[in-house]
Symmetry: D2
Subunit: 312 residues, 4 copies
């Protein structure tokens, strides 16, 4: 499996099922991959935010990539996040995930440190130089606290440094600038522009995006594939209806937010995992430390979202 052509379609950021004592639950992970493949997804992205990459040790990260790559056996491209603070540390992760068989790497701008566009460009150039597989930029200002500017992304695409963008910035106008630039600039070819939004997939595809990387596709891969197919067919009305159904389903991420006793990550990742357990895909809904677990009531609330969306 290579990524010689631009990546398109639905590429879920694969959740990382954990055992009650917070080890990677490999059988559940394999089951989840089977569930995604059965849903018709076009690629997999492991070690992203929905994968709790920020919470996994190096040993656990390696185990995730090896397990998924081995099980997929080349049927789909497998991208892997190489999430760390700066270039030297990211390069270690790039080597690790490629060693474990990843077909492409997904990399944010430097974080924790204060940074600058010139330093971000240098960061991606150094990584692309050392990476034998395509490098996809990951724009996630809520975590990284800088925004990748559209011109920076497009210039690095033209240089051949970047093979794609996963845009989780929430800035749809900036996203459109990249989509349009990638289509109209003569010095750019084969660049893949993917939205990280669960809620704007139809909009993104209507603008000309190549695909989507929605965390909620763990829970309902078939729904996102159906949405993708409707958009590709130009059936915007039914696409909107499907997107609206998924929009409502996404409400589950607030399951733990009612009384202010946990953060957004605990609530959203807890809900995705609770939903996967309720659907019988994974064995245990535990999230990594120090996240707070959903209560039984909150899990029940997740179940109601599944039921309303026709998934239980």
């Amino acid at each position: 499996m290579t990524m010689s052509t631009p990546l398109t379609g639905v590429v879920p950021p694969v959740c990382t099922p954990l055992t009650p004592d917070r080890e990677v639950d490999v059988p559940s992970l394999i089951s989840l991959v089977d569930h995604l493949v059965a849903g018709g997804v076009h690629g997999l992205f492991v070690l992203g935010s929905s994968s709790e990459a920020a919470y996994l040790t190096d040993r656990q990260r390696r185990l995730v990539v090896e397990s998924v790559v081995t099980h997929v056996g080349g049927r789909l491209p497998v991208l892997a996040g190489a999430i760390d603070m700066t270039t030297p540390r990211v390069l270690d992760h790039v080597a690790a995930v490629i060693g474990a068989g990843a077909d492409g790497v997904v990399v944010t701008a430097p974080f924790y440190t204060s940074t600058h566009p010139a330093e971000i460009a240098r960061h991606y150039r150094l990584i692309a130089e050392r990476s034998p597989v395509p490098v996809v930029a990951y724009d996630l200002p809520v975590s990284v606290h800088t925004k990748l500017g559209p011109d920076l992304v497009l210039d690095l695409a033209a240089e051949g440094v970047l093979a794609g963008l996963k845009d989780s910035s929430g800035d749809q106008a900036g996203f459109r600038a990249v989509v349009t630039g990638a289509r109209t600039r003569h010095d750019i070819t084969g660049f893949s522009v993917l939205t990280g939004s669960e809620l704007l997939v139809d909009s993104a595809l209507a603008m000309g995006a190549d695909g989507a990387v929605p965390g909620l596709a763990n829970v309902d891969p078939a729904g996102y594939v159906r949405l993708y197919d409707l958009c590709r067919a130009g059936d915007w009305e039914r696409a909107r209806a499907e997107q609206d159904r998924l929009f409502a389903l996404f409400g589950m991420v607030g399951a733990g937010a009612a009384d202010g006793r946990m953060g957004g990550s605990s609530s959203a990742l807890g809900a995705f995992k609770a939903a996967l357990r309720l659907r019988g895909v994974i064995a245990c809904g535990a999230t990594a430390e120090p996240q707070v677990a959903l209560s039984e009531d909150e899990v029940e609330r997740v179940g109601k979202y599944l039921a309303s969306a026709g998934l239980l």
Copy 2:
């Protein structure tokens, strides 16, 4: 060497000298430690922000701690940062730095992920449970993007989870709340409150703080020790004069900021290292990737700050 009593005095966050090809320059690191010890400092903090911890690979981090601990040989306490995104990853670093001989660990709240006070408390509790050495909280909102609340810190101090605080938040009122709380709450003993500011050491000590962790003390350790001693002696007028001299010297951190071609980290860390090279302490001023290097003109500007402060 243990940290059974609360840490006091000047505890510089030790820069990490690099070779031109960005390996740890151990002889320069040893020379820097000697320079700091000769300046009279009361402890050392390796793998902090001024140490470029965010840029060092795991291998390099371990080399730094081992080199410094071995060379210091128990003459001073050596704290080490365990800087990573979440509890499981921080725990790996805690094990590594303790294995390398650190006398205490310095830990931020979770970052990159969205978090919550309850999760931050759980994070520190889990780390303290597993750490045989004292845990110092590192409050650095500019990097971590959350602020440790004074009450949270004081409650964790009372529980015995935290042994100290390094406050680089810039929030002097919040700092004062911790200093005052640590002095007046009956359930807290032996808690060390340290300012991370270069510019407010006299103010912090006047409020009752225990010490300071100023990055600029790499460049002028004797100056900060003199400032500390003047404050301890209650000679506030001469302390202010010394602080004012160091305030002016700190202007060097803007050496690379004039034309907007680099970020704040490149400029500040580049200036500290240029100053150490100009003073003959380290061999090379290189900073880690992807930081931008100071130009010759900018290094010359650093030299003028040194000259004005009587350090060249």
Copy 3:
């Protein structure tokens, strides 16, 4: 003219032409209104951000509303901003603009002061109580520094407090939540959801929005009306082409941003006014104090954007 039915269509935030000595240039304002009406717009919004409401004195604000309302003579609905920090001050502006003939008022959440959702709700309720004309909420976090939550907006719509939303938040997912909620909640009728974006009008309308309030429609009203009509006709492909043309035209807002000598407001509002002057609609491109004026080169750059878009 009343606003008894929900407002739909293209409702430009009308620029306020100024004389070289910064008085309202009433003849140019009338000429601009004629240009907009000739372009086919469906309503007018005076005293918004693109109108430099924040820069106009109370006397100037009154002159603007009276001039436009009188000239329009009921052919189109005229909304007016009542932009100030808190409820009592906003109420004074509401009375003034209604006295001057406005058909509806547009109001932000409190700003400058620290606020809270309960206080924002109370703010809108008090204003609606005292306003004989419909109240439209203006969501503009870049100025107001709070975001109006979708549920807050929808609940106030259901109560009859709010008649519409102008969303300039940049948060398309939140916008979609309001659009969808307004369509599906049984307790809401006649609520108008308008995007303030220049760049996502097709997306917004595809989601089910009622219209758009794009500043750039001052420059090219016919373009936005054409875009609106194409979307209403379901001709999404040609709509996208028109939106892409307008997206490129919008690049003019960066005309003054190249060398960092002015802020975003100076650059964007300066560009709109330069374009209106170049198109012969207004007499002078001056913006209000303390904004920095575009240079001749920068105005020339604006001209190139007009030429590329077929507007010169």
Copy 4:
């Protein structure tokens, strides 16, 4: 009364007592002024943040200035805020407060609009040109969302544009840069640097600041005057004890924050006014709309702070 010499000492931002129906309660305002004068304060600042200037209509603002200026009769300098979004609107307020007798005006950078250092400088220059009385810059990033850079302030001081700074930025290092610059730059004379902090007055004066503008001085003017005198006498130990007492008293600002049902302004201003009522200085604790009122329990909590500080 003029401000020909730099302002020094304790200059409280005078609360604006309101009647239950939110009109200015002039007798209570006069009583409050008497209370402050009796406490020994060195000047008065009306129409600041603690005065709820952002909530007062133009008519109410004028009434406040006239009432206070007339009653004070030149015994103390009276500064007045001219708080609005941009230069033209601020100029109207400047004219109004000078017409009502203010001895100096206090002005923030532009807010609501996006701005730029060059525009901020122009803003202050235009205001100083038109103001026959001294102009004091008000640095309040929590409201204004830009920070006044120390070099900008000092350059405008050297130009004669600014007569002083009220720093409520919370950035003590930046504050120190202004204090030190004002003392050491040869082109600056008679510039007054005042801290807006309640909690760092001793620190600020130890650095060389000229005075303080603490909102809490409404409640305990004599305490702040005592603190000021101790600092001026160099009795830093007793100064710290007095500051610590006031630090504890300041805890009242959180009286309404416990259960998240109001914003910070409602809680802090509500507490100040409750304290003034409990101390018998004003008749009614009402705050302006749309702020949420403190409950009886919360007012009782305020009373406990007063009792602990020896003020009841």
